[in-house]
Amino acid sequence: MNRMKKILILSTLLGFSFGVQAQGDPKKPGQLHGNFQFLSQQYSEDSLIGATVPPATTAINGFGNLMYTQGGFSAGMRFETYNNAIQGFSAQNRYKGTGIGNRYIQYQDSIFNVTIGNFYEQFGNGLTLRTYWEPNLGIDNALDGARLIITPKKGITLKGIYGRQRLEFDSKIINADGIIRGSDAEFNLNSIFKSLAEKQTHLTLGASFVSRYQSGETRFEDSLVFLTPNNVSNSAVRFQLNRKALALSAEYAQKINDPSADNAYLYRKGKAFFLNASYSGSGFGINAAVKYIDNMSFRADRNLKLFDVPTNYLPSITKQHTHNLAATLYPYATPLTGEVSFMGEVFYTFKKGTKLGGKYGTQLSVNFAAANGLDTTRLTGIEAYTDGYEINSLKFGPTKYVRDFNLEVKKKLNKKFSAAFTYYYFEFNTLVTPVTNDFKGIVYANIEVVELNYKFTPKDNLHLEFQGLQTDQDKGDWATVVAEFSHSPHWSVALIDQYNYGNSTEEKRVHYLFGTVGYINGSQRITLGYGKRREGVFCIGGVCRAVPATNGFELMYTASF
């Protein structure tokens, strides 16, 4: 039966693709895109840093995407392999074996765009729906089902989605229990109305509705009986307004009662509001945001947590840092229960020929973000189980979550030499964002980074980074040195040494030394690394994953075509 099914699918696919090709526009030939990536690690024991060796002693993660497009038709699939997955890739062991982890067919013309199979979609800012793929972080919450996008008129986009989300890969896709249905409508008024086309004010309005079906359950707690709802909806409205250099955007989302593992099975409604304003002048820019989130975790399965099947996306208010110590020791993530937060940022370029700008100009950026818990009072009696708490005000609650100040100055001194200085100040609550097991409370940290860049020849470049972190909490002080030499366009050699010289335990004052050699040829890149990696947090975009300490070799290959 299974074999029959496979043959049937194959022949349908074959027929479809050849059929479309036969009718295709000869001016639009078919095109094939894709990519490969694999990361293989070999492990050696190092009890000092806590590096352990899995029984197989080595591990590999790999994937290859293949996407074929001809005219309006496209189809694609991804092969994945984890034998076994690299250490720390998935705490819940969600990645195993080799097989197809994603497949779809799609057809689009000027009005309709239909997809069957796996797809990634985002409604508005993602407060109601965001499915995405971040292979380096082990995130793939792809929807598996159907999507229809209709553009009846320029400026109007209507979307409908229906499917289940990918939870796990075990030589094949394993989807989560819940069924996700949703729709989104967006209207760009300047494109819709001819009279507004030339106006300097641009306005886009949007609304979305997403609902999860998961069979209700009966729960017993303290001799009380609770029923969880079959259907949970999450809806939002939004706008984006641009006028000359000014941009303003906002979104408000509300979720009905959704008792879940994330909120200790409370029945309270979820609310999220976010407002952003920015001004972009010549040579400078200002950006400010406020965010309020209360109980907005929304997943395809109410009983799952952490990285498993998030349906919406709650980005962090802090800047995504790139310097090693700032990025990997104390990265902040929005607590799913809620936060009140704001952020302000200024970018400025001192122009060429001015006193501070010098011959080439000087770039400056200053950023500050703050988040606290909600201002609430715990409820008692039956309400302690239903609503849990009540909101006193929309102001900052008493619990500090994060303060993040950073300032960066970049300057090119002459044709060969450029330098940058960055300063960070963090107050970071490790009880709320559990990035360390060594300290629970607020970490106060100063970080300084000096970067020097020297071009020996137009193709040979040396990049040096000296970083220092001082704190009386957690693991104490750190120093990091990064040296990277590149010979354009093919070669690079890098060495990083992280030294925990301030650790209160003397034997933990370890040098984490890691070296890499990389070769790049067009879209292909191969990197060989060796050394010690410390336990830490690895982030891309707005999402972070905890990685264990490792010691050994690493080989990475990536290619696109």
């Binding site: 194959l10 693709s17 030939p29 078919g30 095109q31 094939l32 895109h33 990519n35 995407n65 293949l66 996407m67 497009t69 001809q70 496209s74 699939m77 197809i100 689009q108 990634y120 985002q122 965001r130 995405y132 793929w133 760009n188 300047n190 641009h202 641009n242 250099a245 941009a247 920015s278 972009s280 002048g281 010549s282 040579g283 400078f284 820019g285 950006n287 945001a289 996306y313 980005p315 800047k319 995504q320 940022e345 970018f347 370029t349 770039q363 071009k455 020849t457 137009p458 193709k459 590149s486 354009s488 366009p489 690079s492 067009g522 879209s523 975009g541 707005g542 990536t558 696109s560 075509f561």
Partner: protein, 161 residues
């Protein structure tokens, strides 16, 4: 498994005769207007498509370094640079103020959920594509190191001849 191999062969065999052009994805510009990526190539002149993010230092270095050469490149080859940001919702609103502060004259597009990046097989940023005047992708480079602009220039000049 046999099914997978068959489909792989199917794609590859069709692909061998295929020409690389830009896929059709709807992206937004900084004003919220929709732009179809299939129409990004300039008619008769080259287009450089650079994937970047505000949190990616080498990406910003690449586009800042191109800035010093852009006028010269444009006069010589008519090239247009399109900087496609893959910043997600956490940082996408930082794109406009950052771009204006460094005064990039490039066309900026937002690919917040990486649909265009994935359709072009982009694994990591920076990733740069050179599209010729007929809309064909003729060169690409993953990563950026100081001096890579010399290779971009070389590729641009090759197109001219």
């Amino acid at each position: 498994m046999r099914l997978s191999i068959s489909i792989l062969f199917l794609f590859v065999s069709i692909g061998l005769s295929a020409q690389e052009t830009l896929p059709s994805i709807s992206l937004k510009d900084l004003n919220g207007k929709t732009v179809n990526t299939a129409n990004l190539a300039q008619d008769g002149k080259p287009t450089l498509i650079c994937f970047w993010a505000t949190w990616c230092s080498p990406c910003k270095k690449e586009l800042n370094n191109y800035l010093d050469l852009y006028e010269e490149w444009q006069a010589e080859t008519g090239v247009k640079i399109i900087a496609v940001s893959i910043d997600d919702q956490r940082s996408v609103l930082r794109v406009a103020p950052y771009v204006s502060s460094v005064m990039w004259p490039y066309e900026i597009l937002l690919d917040s959920n990486k649909q265009f990046a994935q359709a072009l097989g982009v694994n990591n940023v920076p990733h740069t594509f050179l599209v010729d005047g007929t809309g064909k992708i003729i060169w690409q480079h993953n990563n950026y190191a100081e001096g890579d602009e010399a290779e971009v220039h070389e590729q641009l000049l090759k197109l001219k001849h």
